[in-house]
């Protein structure tokens, strides 16, 4: 590695730094929805990945629709796609809670099985409606390529876009959960369901909306990921492992824990990746996680829920 100028090396380190930040925003966006559902409701949503895929497919459909009917709107459709993905995934989540989850609150292990079954149903539906080939929406030109602050630094625009989106979503979730009266109801229900009901909170409605919100955020994540990778019927299962890793490591019911956990995992992963192979980096990251979880089974930040 002798023939590098100081400038080249700095650029590469700057870009590698952004890789870490970019991975952090991806992990966080994936995990937010699950953290809300798992943290607030104690439901392990195995179909979380499929809700992401649902968002991705919504984006794909909207891109096809815009291209054929309103080609002049192509540069802007992606914003509508994000909103549409949130609504579609949220609506499906709402119906899922109504039809499936609410019957199983007292049997947490059964929700695991039921949502896993749901994920299989959703995968096969994607396959039936969209075919088994992977699809990707036509991205607006401004999302492609990279930003070059200097001649040798390339910062991918889609990475920055996801970073921005994650920031917005995180603050929105923070506001909803910790600053709005609805969030107060959610947290009250989490802490003591019976008491909350007694003071007049419609706990069933709270459950339903919380679940819908978590699924809707998964939809947003799915829409964002169409800028990174293609979407196939089983794409969701690729993301689910990372998502659970972030949530479990961060500690359930803690927004801050999820953020810290996503950041730690992303930095560890990207720094290791730069020096050793990706497979080994993954092995080391997971090993470290296991060890930390053995010492601190409740994750980085334990939730303060009455047991």
């Amino acid at each position: 590695m002798g023939d590098f100028t100081f400038q080249e090396l700095t650029s590469i380190f700057a870009m590698q730094g952004f890789v870490g930040i970019s991975l952090f925003s991806v992990l966080l966006l994936m995990a937010l929805g699950l953290a809300i559902i798992f943290g607030q409701m104690g439901v392990i949503n195995m179909a979380h990945g499929e809700f992401m895929a649902l968002g991705a497919y919504t984006t794909y459909m909207l891109s096809m629709f815009t291209r054929t009917h309103y080609p002049e709107l192509m540069p802007y459709y992606f914003f509508f796609a994000i909103i549409a993905s949130f609504l579609v995934a949220g609506l499906v989540g709402y119906l899922t809670e109504f039809a499936l989850i609410r019957h199983l609150y007292k049997r947490p292990l059964d929700t695991l099985l039921a949502t896993w079954g749901l994920s299989l149903i959703m995968q096969q539906s994607f396959r039936t409606f969209f075919g088994s080939r992977e699809v990707s929406p036509t991205l607006p030109d401004w999302l492609m390529g990279s930003w070059m602050p200097t001649d040798t630094i390339f910062i991918p625009i889609n990475g920055m876009f996801i970073l921005g989106l994650t920031t917005v979503v995180t603050f929105a979730v923070y506001y909803l959960m910790y600053r709005s009266s609805w969030g107060l109801n959610v947290r009250a229900t989490t802490q003591n369901r019976v008491m909350s009901g007694a003071v007049g909170i419609n706990t069933k409605q709270v459950d339903r909306l919380t679940f819908a919100l978590g699924c809707g955020i998964a939809g947003i994540a799915g829409a964002a990921f169409t800028t990174i990778a293609s979407t196939g019927p089983t794409s969701g299962s690729l993301y689910i492992v990372d998502t659970f890793m972030v949530v479990v490591f961060g500690g359930a019911a803690s927004l801050f824990g999820t953020i810290a956990s996503a950041f730690t995992i992303a930095q560890a992963q990207s720094i290791l990746e730069f020096f050793i192979s990706s497979s080994m980096a993954k092995v080391l990251t997971l090993l470290t996680l296991i060890i930390i979880l053995m010492i601190r089974p409740e994750g980085l930040f334990a939730s303060k829920v009455r047991k």
Binding site: R133, M144, P156, A229, S230, S270, E273, S278, S279
Partner: protein, 417 residues
């Protein structure tokens, strides 16, 4: 004698319409009665006086369905065309379609079903090496025959398998020779998904680069299957500044890899990239704009300009829609039924042992293959040309190089293991 001349005539007919016309004229002259079932089928296969049953075994569901659907469609098209041209030894081919579901034990189970309960006279299928390895013992134990379409890592030669795709050396060596010569490449960066095919391929590539081409491998990377984060690898790539990136990334990772490469400002203007794992099928997902100017090394591209291929592409699109694309493996899967037909007719029998025997004479050949003339080597692989395609924005490749000779398949390359 009459039979022989018909076979020869059909063999020389170079397009589908010709074959169908010929079938119309000739089908009455080749009756199944000339080949009594008792004589052409001494081992109890599913052959009646007017039908013969074969199996197609591909993943129609699960993660591999993306890739295997095309291969399944091509095999069905070939069988349909064979039936329209009068069938095989006067018998119409019936197909039993089985779904391997992207799950290797399921492949083995379905193979067992096809061979034991269905008595399939031949099976066309499998895509990944893992699925082939899973069914191999079944085919060997029950003496079936499998036509396997994918380009693969080599190091295998079973009596019960005919490999219609290229083995690793056919694909890799010619590609590396071309890029070393044409681009004056000295340094190579190898990257692949982390499983047997990319690893074996890269092992062969490294030996060839270091010992034959006198070049240098400046990086060798493997990414976990399904991984979509390539930022770190791209940065390492920048540190090493290779003349050529030699890639074998597969599946969903492939899309992310090329997109992120493009977003990072690495494109054909400033980097030569040669890949083993991109066919027209993959381009659909990756997007032509992310691949423009990069190279693939394959034996077949949809854009090949010859009459056989024109007829094939036309027939395929007529059957499966104008938007369908045809990749290397799809074409190789199309060859399976035709090679089987050639072998059965040469042997005058459906018996597996006789088919294998004639297949090993080195005389089974097809003039009508979309990729051009092919011949079966006694080692069960095909002699074939290797071609380099340069990708265009529209998702099709321009063939920029074609090996002058048919390249001999060499599944156990000495010095490369």
């Amino acid at each position: 004698m009459k039979y022989f001349s018909r076979r020869k005539f059909l063999g020389k007919t170079s397009n589908l319409i010709g074959a169908m016309l010929a079938a119309g004229l000739m089908s009455t002259s080749v009756m199944a009665t000339e080949f009594p079932t008792a004589e052409v089928n001494t081992t109890g296969l599913a052959v009646t006086d007017d039908t013969v049953t074969v199996g197609i075994l591909h993943s129609l569901t699960g993660t591999m369905a993306i890739s295997e659907t095309g291969a399944m469609e091509a095999a069905r098209l070939a069988i349909k065309q064979i039936n329209e041209s009068g069938g095989i030894l006067g018998r119409q081919i019936e197909v039993i379609l089985e779904d391997g579901a992207s799950d290797w034990p399921t492949f083995a189970e379905k193979a067992r079903k096809l061979l034991i309960s269905d008595k399939a006279a031949a099976v066309f299928g499998c895509w990944t090496s893992a699925s082939r390895k899973a069914v191999l013992p079944v085919f060997e134990q029950h003496n079936g025959i499998l036509y396997y379409p994918t380009f693969y890592e080599g190091l295998e030669q079973s009596k019960n398998v005919i490999y219609t795709g290229q083995e690793a050396t056919q694909q890799i060596l010619a590609g590396l020779d071309w890029v070393a010569e044409e681009k004056d490449a000295k340094t190579f960066f190898l990257i692949g998904s982390d499983y047997i095919w990319p690893r074996t391929s890269m092992k062969i590539a490294r030996i060839h680069i270091e010992q034959v081409l006198g070049g240098r491998v400046v990086g060798e990377e493997y990414v976990p299957l399904g991984d979509v984060q390539f930022g770190s690898i791209i940065n390492r790539l920048r540190l090493r500044k290779p003349d050529v990136i030699f890639a074998a990334v597969v599946g969903g990772s492939n899309v992310a890899w090329f997109r992120q490469l493009n977003a990072a400002g690495i494109n054909a203007d400033n980097q030569t990239l040669l890949t083993l794992s991109v066919t027209e099928d993959e381009v659909l997902g990756i997007g032509g704009e992310n691949l423009e100017g990069f190279y693939s090394v394959m034996k077949y591209f949809q854009s090949l300009d010859n009459p056989n291929n024109k007829a094939f592409v036309e027939a395929f699109k007529a059957e499966y829609g104008q938007d369908s694309v045809i990749g290397d493996v799809t074409q190789a899967a199309y060859l399976g039924p035709w090679l089987w037909k050639a072998a059965v007719e040469k042997a005058g029998s459906f018996d597996i042992d006789k088919i294998v025997e004639v297949s090993r004479t080195g005389e089974i050949e097809l003039d009508t293959a979309p990729e051009g003339y092919v011949r079966l080597h006694p080692n069960h692989h095909l002699w074939s040309h290797t071609r380099i395609g340069k990708w265009n924005r529209d998702g099709q490749a321009t063939v920029v190089y074609e090996s002058p000779e048919l390249i001999e398949p060499n599944p156990f390359p000495e010095g490369y293991q």
